[in-house]
């Protein structure tokens, strides 16, 4: 029996109306271009009798009588109805309707539901919307496209670096809490091997999902949507559905996609070009009387007026300019010229097909990035295979397999060990190109951050004190990483009865990550080698029973399931200590001293059962209820089982109103509980391994009491969430609006509470606190212009979230989330009871209470307070605006995203002032003199404030170096903390679709060419030029609030060609 008749059979079986006069209707459904449309649902109105169209758009349906109306529905098209009458053939042309939100959405556990029946907020983004400009990390391409989702990105120079995502604000008091990523039903790891703001950013492993393979992404924003994920669902869920082939008449198509873009760095901090290296404006002199430049990394020195000086290279006898004087002149582009023009090549091919009883898709994509930071690159291969086979009429088996392979050589970022520190500490007079040949023939490294012997005029100690030659770092200090990743599932389902189906899934996500670091000989650190290998396997064994039945006006859908989750992780890390026994022998065995060797095993299991019932009445009223039980091995054994319920409902009031303009109206409300547990082994205290001491009598291996005190009484944390929303569509769905109000209370948070060290511990694992988020999300869609020649589609997303910490731990009203230290000044990220999450507390201006002006000391320098509150790091609102214009065959798409508020601290900006590099440190004062000129001759920075000694207002001129270096750049953080508000044009694509006669002469079914730009323009930002508030994410820290030398902004421009055979 073929598939058509099977569908008919099913239609009959599910129909409870006694049939007496059957009619078979046939026909073809086509799209705007009269091309057959597969997968269109064809339903007899008011019944469950239905079928769907084949690969060529044809269908056949048998209905009980000829009095009915057929309804044709497909995602992306306006529905149509056709009265059957006496016809036996009904052909329909569906009109594309981008505004029509997909009727069918994927919900928790991969259950497909009709949009109207859902009582909570979800938002879907289609795959082609994610590959507009070939963003590497799928999370990055969600920025601005979903209301209530905040994405904090990283510079393109990191090549797939960390992209952080938060749904509906910060719901964990410690700032953690990433949504669960589920791909075709398989929960996947979101591990990140990066450190914090300093070091190499390897990115979160979610970048292994190939954007080219994605059909759609659906964001389950609140616990109501994610309650079925129980203990893993507290922070929302991102459901990704990959592309699949279609069952039906035999069909095969091949698509090829190729994109190329070039990448340019931009957005440099404005620096001065008047004064060169030094602590003061007098040249240093050698014993022989020659003026010379030392290895100082500050630019408070003499005017770069061309005076002949001995530069660093003149102190190397190997150098052709040894002993020579060269002019002391500014090098305005000495940072920019270090970087290279990168490129990004992305090629993919996919094969999609199917026949009567199977479908399949195979995709392969290869990406290569040559980075903007010298000697960095990334290679990636993605292979995707999905297939489904009807073994018998009742038994279907399938598999989804994704393989990703990455290898990269990445830049270091942050404060030291990389050229990202060049705007912080450097000499404005250094010619970067003179440093390019960093090694002399005899192996000596050419360094600028070293000092000559003033008598001999030769470098005696060639070890730089703080900064390597950046080219030495780029070519001799290498960070390599490699990951093989396999994820997917095999599944089988059996249709026991027409209304009852059972399915089983074995899901797996496994990867092997290796990371190495080579430190070459000749830099400021001893040479060395670090190697880590990490293996992670997460399996889910899942059972699902689904029951669907209609009783007249009542539709019933019941799902029950069980799941066993297992985590198995092991890691090995080795590092040499004290150098390499033979230069260039990069192996742990080369360690001069006893090498560091660490191994770690983590295992975890969660046993879950769950059930969900959804009930619809007359397709107008819908009610959902679900419950899940989780038993987690990470919780204390006597207290490890918890329940998570949810209930939601929706009401399609548009069905009851006669107002024609309103094509769709839904009111929805939900309440749910979701949760999260903790990392493994956090409930039993152990000792830890300390370092080893090789006494003459033998090795002493020390043992220590860990700094973190664990807790045997820990419970999972719970999130109680309530939301209410309204979905409206007008004018045949040309205008749509969705608005949601939510309130989520997260209690019993599992925290590493910072405690007074005097307790003997630094942190204590606790259940504490209550954090509340309330907010509004708005999503507007519209097609302001629709004509044959020109259409304009726009989507606007907006979300406002208010966060409040209602309670913390008894006696400790402040949670210290993070701390950074520079020049003995601490800045804290603190969360305080009664305030919103994450305020920056650090040193700043001491303010005169009466006038609000800055208090000045006896030397007229600003006085400082060590604990000023600079406000919350959380944004007030976020959103995005997406516009698509179609003019004939041209399509122009532009994506803008924006954020208001959220404080961040720029270490680069502060240090560029402290080191005398920032433009303002050599500005002209109101008397027309450079601020660095002597005070007596009219120089100095003008300062106004209240004298602490006299209480009188004073205006004075103060020495620029003392002002910027000792005061502002050291302990006045008011000047260096900025709002991250921005409006950014993130993606632009201008495409041309070939069709009709041109295409007919080619072997192609479809062809499209596009010019793309990723990250082309920051339209507006509140923070000063040279910083990028949208790219603060530079590692695995939960909250990005400090910029310690982020990689330079990258703008890329390219072309994209897609062909389908």
């Amino acid at each position: 029996m073929n598939r058509k008749s099977l569908l008919i059979l099913l239609g009959i079986l599910t129909c409870y109306i006694v049939s007496y006069a059957q009619t078979t209707i046939k026909g073809k459904v086509t799209d705007d271009n009269k091309v057959g449309l597969p997968g269109v649902s064809v339903l007899l109105k008011g019944t469950t009798t239905g079928t769907s169209t084949n690969g060529d758009g044809t269908y056949s349906i048998t209905i009980p009588s000829n009095t009915g109306v057929l309804v044709f529905k497909s995602i992306g098209f306006a529905s149509q109805e056709a009265a059957v009458g006496s016809r036996t053939e009904i052909n329909v042309q569906l009109i594309s309707d981008a505004e029509n939100l997909s009727e069918v959405v994927v919900t928790a556990l991969g259950i497909k539901r009709s949009q109207k029946s859902i009582g909570y907020a979800t938002q879907q983004v289609n795959g082609d919307n994610l590959t507009l400009t070939k963003e590497q990390n799928v999370i990055g391409s969600l920025a601005g496209k979903v209301a209530g989702v905040q994405v904090t990105g990283s510079s393109g120079a990191s090549m797939g670096g960390t992209q952080k995502i938060k749904i509906r604000g910060v719901n964990a008091i410690d700032g953690s809490g990433q949504p669960l990523m589920v791909i075709d039903g398989t929960p996947t790891s979101q591990d990140n091997f990066s450190g914090n703001a300093n070091g190499v950013d390897y990115g979160n492993v979610s970048q292994d999902i190939n954007p080219e393979d994605i059909e759609s992404v659906n964001v389950l924003k609140g616990p109501a949507a994610s309650a079925l994920y129980g203990i893993r669902g507290q922070y929302g869920v991102i459901l990704i559905t990959t592309k699949k082939g279609a069952k039906g008449p035999k069909n095969v198509s091949v698509s090829v996609n190729s994109a190329f873009s070039i990448e340019k760095v931009g957005n440099f901090l404005p620096l001065q070009n008047i004064y060169g290296v030094g602590n003061n404006q007098t040249f240093l002199t050698l014993t022989n009387g020659q003026k010379y430049i030392n290895g100082n990394d500050e630019s408070w020195g003499p005017v770069m007026d061309g005076t002949p000086v001995r530069m660093y290279y003149s102190f190397y006898p190997q150098d052709p300019q040894f002993g020579q004087l060269t002019p002391f002149v500014p090098q305005p582009d000495n940072i920019k010229d270090f970087y290279e023009t990168g490129y990004n090549l992305n090629n993919g091919v996919s094969l999609t097909g199917g026949n009567e009883n199977m479908n399949y898709r195979m995709g392969y994509t290869n990406a290569y990035i040559n980075g903007t930071y010298p000697n960095t690159w990334l290679k990636r291969n993605n292979l995707n295979l999905s297939a489904s086979l009807d073994v018998t009429k009742k038994l279907t088996v399938g598999a989804n397999v994704n393989y990703a392979n990455n290898s990269g050589q990445r830049p270091t970022q942050g404060y030291q060990g990389s050229f990202t520190g060049a705007s912080q500490w450097f000499q404005r007079n250094l010619d970067i190109n003179r440093l390019r040949d960093y090694k002399y023939a005899d192996g000596t490294i050419l360094n600028w951050n070293v000092n000559p012997n003033t008598t001999t005029g030769i470098i005696t100690n060639n070890r730089p004190s703080d900064w390597n030659n950046p080219f030495f770092d780029a070519y001799e200090s290498l960070n390599n990483d490699k990951r093989d990743r396999l994820f997917g599932d095999v599944n089988a389902s059996y249709q026991i009865l027409p209304e009852l189906k059972v399915s089983g899934f074995v899901r797996s996500d496994m990867y092997t990550q290796s990371i190495t670091h080579k430190e070459g000989l000749g830099g400021r650190l001893v040479d060395g080698y670090q190697v880590g290998k990490y293996q992670n396997t997460e399996n889910n064994y899942e059972f699902l029973g689904q029951y669907n039945k209609n009783f007249n006006d009542l539709s019933v859908n019941i799902n029950v399931g069980a799941n066993l989750y297992t985590l198995d992780y092991s890691g090995q890390y080795q590092a040499t200590v004290g150098g390499l026994s033979s230069p260039g022998w990069y192996s742990a065995a080369a360690s001069v001293d006893r090498p560091v060797s660490v191994s770690e095993i983590r295992k975890k299991q969660i046993k879950s059962i769950y059930a969900m019932g959804s009930f619809g009445y007359k397709d107008i009223y819908f009610l959902d209820a679900s419950i899940r039980n989780d038993v987690s091995s990470a919780l204390p054994e006597n207290n490890n089982s918890y329940w998570y319920p949810s209930v939601s409902g929706s009401f399609l009031f548009s069905e009851l109103t006669k107002w024609k303009a309103l094509s769709f109206g839904k009111l929805r409300a939900s309440f749910a509980v979701a949760g999260s547990d903790l990392k493994v082994y956090q409930t039993v205290n152990t000792f830890g391994a300390g370092s080893s001491y090789n006494a003459s009598t033998g090795a002493i291996n020390t043992i220590l009491v860990p700094d973190k005190l664990k807790n045997p009484f820990i419970k999972p944390s719970f999130a109680n969430s309530f939301e209410i929303g309204l979905d409206l569509k007008f004018l045949k769905n040309r205008i749509g609006a969705e608005v949601t109000y939510y309130s989520q209370r997260n209690k019993d948070q599992i925290l590493d509470l910072s405690v007074s060290g005097a307790s003997g511990y630094d942190k204590y694992v606790i259940n504490a606190g209550l954090i509340e988020n309330k907010g509004v999300e708005l999503s507007l869609t519209g097609r302001p212009i629709q004509s044959k020649l020109f259409t304009w589609d726009a989507t606007f997303n907006f979300a406002r979230n208010k966060n409040k910490i209602i309670e913390l731990y008894p006696g400790i009203p402040v949670l210290q989330n993070d701390v950074a230290n520079y020049s003995s000044q601490n800045i804290y990220l603190n969360s305080t009871e009664g305030q919103s999450f994450g305020n920056l507390i650090g040193p700043g201006y001491k303010i005169d209470a009466a006038t609000g002006k800055v208090l000045l000391g006896t030397d007229y320098m600003p006085l400082f307070d060590t604990a000023k509150d600079f406000g919350s790091v959380l944004p007030q609102f976020t959103g995005g605006l997406q516009n698509t214009f179609k003019i004939g065959n041209f399509t122009l798409a532009a994506m803008i995203d924006f954020q208001k508020g959220g404080q961040f601290f720029s270490w680069s900006k502060m240090l560029s002032a402290k080191s005398g590099q920032a433009a303002e440190t050599a500005a002209i004062n109101d008397k027309g003199f450079n601020v660095r000129d002597p005070l007596a001759s009219g120089g100095g920075v003008k300062i106004n404030g209240i004298s602490q000694a006299t209480g009188q207002e004073v205006t004075a001129y103060v020495d620029a170096r003392t002002y910027y270096r000792t005061n502002l750049g050291t302990r006045i953080y008011d000047e260096w903390i900025y709002s991250a508000s921005y409006i950014k044009l993130r993606e632009v694509s201008l495409g041309y679709t070939f069709e009709g006669k041109i295409l007919a002469k080619t072997p192609f079914k479809a062809a499209k060419f596009a010019v793309i730009a990723r990250n082309p323009v920051m339209i507006w930002q509140k923070a000063p030029k040279g910083l990028d508030p949208s790219e603060l994410s530079s590692g695995s820290a939960d909250i990005s609030w400090i910029e310690k030398g982020e990689l330079q902004t990258v703008r890329s421009f390219g072309v994209n060609l897609s062909l389908t055979f």
Binding site: F543, L564, K607, E637, G690, N694, G760
Partner: protein, 475 residues
Amino acid sequence: MKITHKKIYMASLVLLVLSGCKKFDDSVTVDPNNPTKAGTQLIANAELFLPGLSSSPYGVHYPQYLSNTSFTDNSRYVTINFNFASLYYGPLINLETVINSTTLDANEGAVVNQIAVAKILKAYFFWHMTDRWGDIPYSEALKGNGSFTPKYDKQQAIYNNLFTLLDEANAAIVSGTIKNDIIYNGDVNKWKRLGNTIHALMALRLSKVDPVKGSAEFNKAVANGMMTDNADNLTFQHLSNATNENYWYNSFTVLGRNWFAVSKPVVDYMQPLNDPRLSVYANKNTAGNYVGLDYGLPGSVTVVINNYSLLGSNLRLQNSPVALVTYAQSLFAMAEAAKLTWIGGGDAVAKTNYDKAIEYSIRQWKNNDVTGLAAYMANADVAYDAANGFKKIGNQRWIHLFLHGYEGWAEWRRTGFPNFLSPAPNNNGAQIPRREGYPTQERSLNSANYNAAVAAFPYLPGADDLNTRVWWDKP
């Protein structure tokens, strides 16, 4: 609907049975990565923190042993707040765990000896801490979830508690050895003498504020038996490997930073007297002379490093030892106690101990080479005289304690010697510190107790800064 719910319930029940009970296999729940048993290895870990009490880029500047050649902020007292937390959750919690342990293993040495050694080290760490910060958490500290907001105890109470702790250790020690001892290779008699020497040095700290108590405790320590030789010194022997290397080696050689020169006051004091130790303390400049660097220069002054004496090369080898409590120090203490009439013998005993102290100081620093000792002792500025007894003891002790900044600073605060140190110049009137500020973390994590402690400072209430005096530093 009721029927449906019942169905769900039934189905759930079935699945609950299917999914098994709430038990997990031990292979899933037990942490395989960390040890669960420890004794003397905890003491060994605490011992690794000892050199850090001396090798500090802050403490070394207060008594002006070293000057900065560049980045002079530290010598200009820019840092006000210092963190004590890592001493609590580092060495002290290890020692407290040993002291309170009921599972110590006698195979690692007599249990009473393990506990006694832990108590002596605990007393030593706390003594160092209270001398830096004054009132600090003690009686409620190190209790984990027993108190995350421990109150601050008065320094006087801490001193009294530490005297008791040292008495207990002295009384408990039985003959034998303990395992895993980095300092004395398990010799508990040396530990006993160390405990009593610490006891005596602590007693001497009370000379200004409570001489009666000081004298009593001092005599108790003397009676219990103090150090008798340099071999008894509490010295941390660094090793020729990166994990256990000397701090100054790391700074000069690993990080390549010639940031520390011997200060002008030190060189100018030692050089005219032909002090044999100067060649150890300082290197000659490139011209071949000993030249001390002016103390605490502003950062805008460029120092030509070649012109000055950097810290002596032998004190910054990878395995250079760090001396913390020494026999010479105990001899200086005896000399001062005699001068104070805490012990008998008056100036005669003071002189005997003073002379011996200098000899053993030179032996310590110069590896038992006493060349030039006699000539040195003959200097009028060195030879003991009763009229200037305190001053001479004070100055010589300052020289002896070279590099151990925090101890030299404590003795300067107590005795006022040497009396020729001036604060860093042109520094907005900032004086030489008399205390270090509490860690800023305490303001939020332990605020009530922090505020109470600051409000109850003994001499200058309400200012958590560098100028407030600790209890024994009576003005």
